[in-house]
Symmetry: C2
Subunit: 276 residues, 2 copies
């Protein structure tokens, strides 16, 4: 294990661009931290792959971040968080933070009527990761889930406040609206991009839970407790690595982060495969 210094970066990975919403939250919450991001754009999406494959890829992604001497790893992908978190924690000395636990805990804290909605990809809804965690923590919770597969391509295409997005959101969310939930977990890291439309459709009495924000708070507390917060007065740096199509990643990343990026590095899958 490498000696951990408080100036070591925070590592964040996702199968593609979705995890950038988590990067945005982390840089707001912890502006002095350095960040290394890996997006496995050559093998996206993970949600349609078998559990064994997702675990294998997640280990490779985490190994890549380990080569960058990260002090903590954030799994900014709900699919990996729901399938591979235990294996990653077993395999790596570095602490690993997923999306399911922070998002669920924040939702449990916020709900007053114990009725929580969850929206995510087909994979996340089908594997019931959020609902099993919520029900394990509190048996009195009622959970309602809905897959919203078009939200990812709509966010990636930048149709953020487009009337078509609103129509599709109304269609997806109409059942949840009638179920009197007071808390809605955005169970996919792409969805915060569409938060304003989702909020508008659900109404102001429903609190949206962004798992990225929830994870950020946990990361902050963890690093603080171990004296690992970067106490530099300078703004942190961010480095971005992808396994394919860096140009397309850069375009979407700039839209997701709301700032321009200097460079996105491409890492060959061969390199990723051969990490020991």
């Amino acid at each position: 294990m490498n000696f951990m210094n408080n100036t070591n970066p925070i590592g964040i990975f996702d199968s593609g661009v979705g995890g950038l919403t988590v990067v945005k939250k982390i840089t707001t919450l912890l502006p002095n931290e350095n960040i290394v991001y890996f997006g496995d754009t050559a093998r996206v999406p993970y949600g349609t792959k078998s559990n064994e494959t997702v675990i294998e890829y997640a280990i490779q992604d985490a190994k890549f971040l380990q080569t960058k001497n990260v002090k903590i790893i954030i799994v900014a992908c709900n699919t990996v968080s729901s399938i591979a978190l235990d294996v990653l924690r077993e395999k790596f000395d570095i602490p690993v933070i997923g999306m399911i636990e922070p998002g669920s805990k924040l939702a449990l804290k916020k709900t007053k009527n114990n009725r929580i909605g969850i929206i995510g990809t087909n994979a996340t809804v089908n594997n019931k990761a959020y609902s099993s965690f919520l029900l394990k923590e509190n048996k009195n919770i009622e959970v309602f889930e809905k897959a919203c597969p078009l939200f990812v391509p709509l966010a990636e295409e930048g149709l953020i406040n487009h009337p078509a997005t609103k129509l599709i959101a109304e269609e997806y969310l109409s059942d949840l609206k009638e179920l009197n939930i007071d808390t809605l977990i955005l169970g996919c890291t792409h969805y915060p991009i569409l938060a304003s439309t989702i909020q508008e459709v659900m109404g102001n009495n429903v609190e949206l839970i962004d798992s990225g924000t929830a994870a950020g708070i946990i990361v902050k507390n963890y690093l603080e407790g171990r004296g690992l917060l970067n106490n530099s007065n300078n703004l942190g740096t961010s480095e971005f690595f992808v396994s394919d199509l860096p140009k397309r990643f850069k375009e979407i990343a700039e839209r997701f982060l709301g700032r321009s990026l200097k460079h996105v590095h491409k890492i060959d899958l061969e390199t990723i495969h051969n990490l020991l």
Copy 2:
């Protein structure tokens, strides 16, 4: 090489479900033919992968069809057609028909004002497969291309005549509408699902070209010329194989084909990898 019999099936493959629109066209045009379809749903999408990877996967897909003694292979995927067709033709004794050439030739036959539009995925538009072929055939053609990435997820979600789909189509197609094209190539096998909306937005003066129909005519002529048309009086059978998630494939396939399917077989990627 196996002895080819006219009752041998027609093989069709795609990275996922899009190629089913080609299956539909073939069964209409050649109702007595038996069909074997392979959808590489474990590795979809191909459009975001490197050329080397697409070629490797395409060879495996074609090898799988070869094990089913197909008499001809239709590459019902524009990405593979634009990247791997030459390699497939070199590697296999069986004739291989792609999407680009039949669609382009039909468009060249139909256009009166020599202004042709092409819509497709980002990959197909970026690699300019259709426009290079069209310009090689006729230097006087003017070609206008537009990527419509949301059309694939909209078709897969079944939002066929949804107002949101119309709004998105209007946004994507507004530039093409102003360019006075008289012919529009649907350069993605998913797009025929949305043909009525696309036609409505483009207006009735623009002829839509479905590459699947164009390929079907070429396949028919080829088989006819070699005495390989199935001259049985019975309706042909269709067998469907996928590399992952057969249940989801079956749902979408029934919507795309407009009929129910008895069974979708799952083939392990391991089996595909090990084909000699």
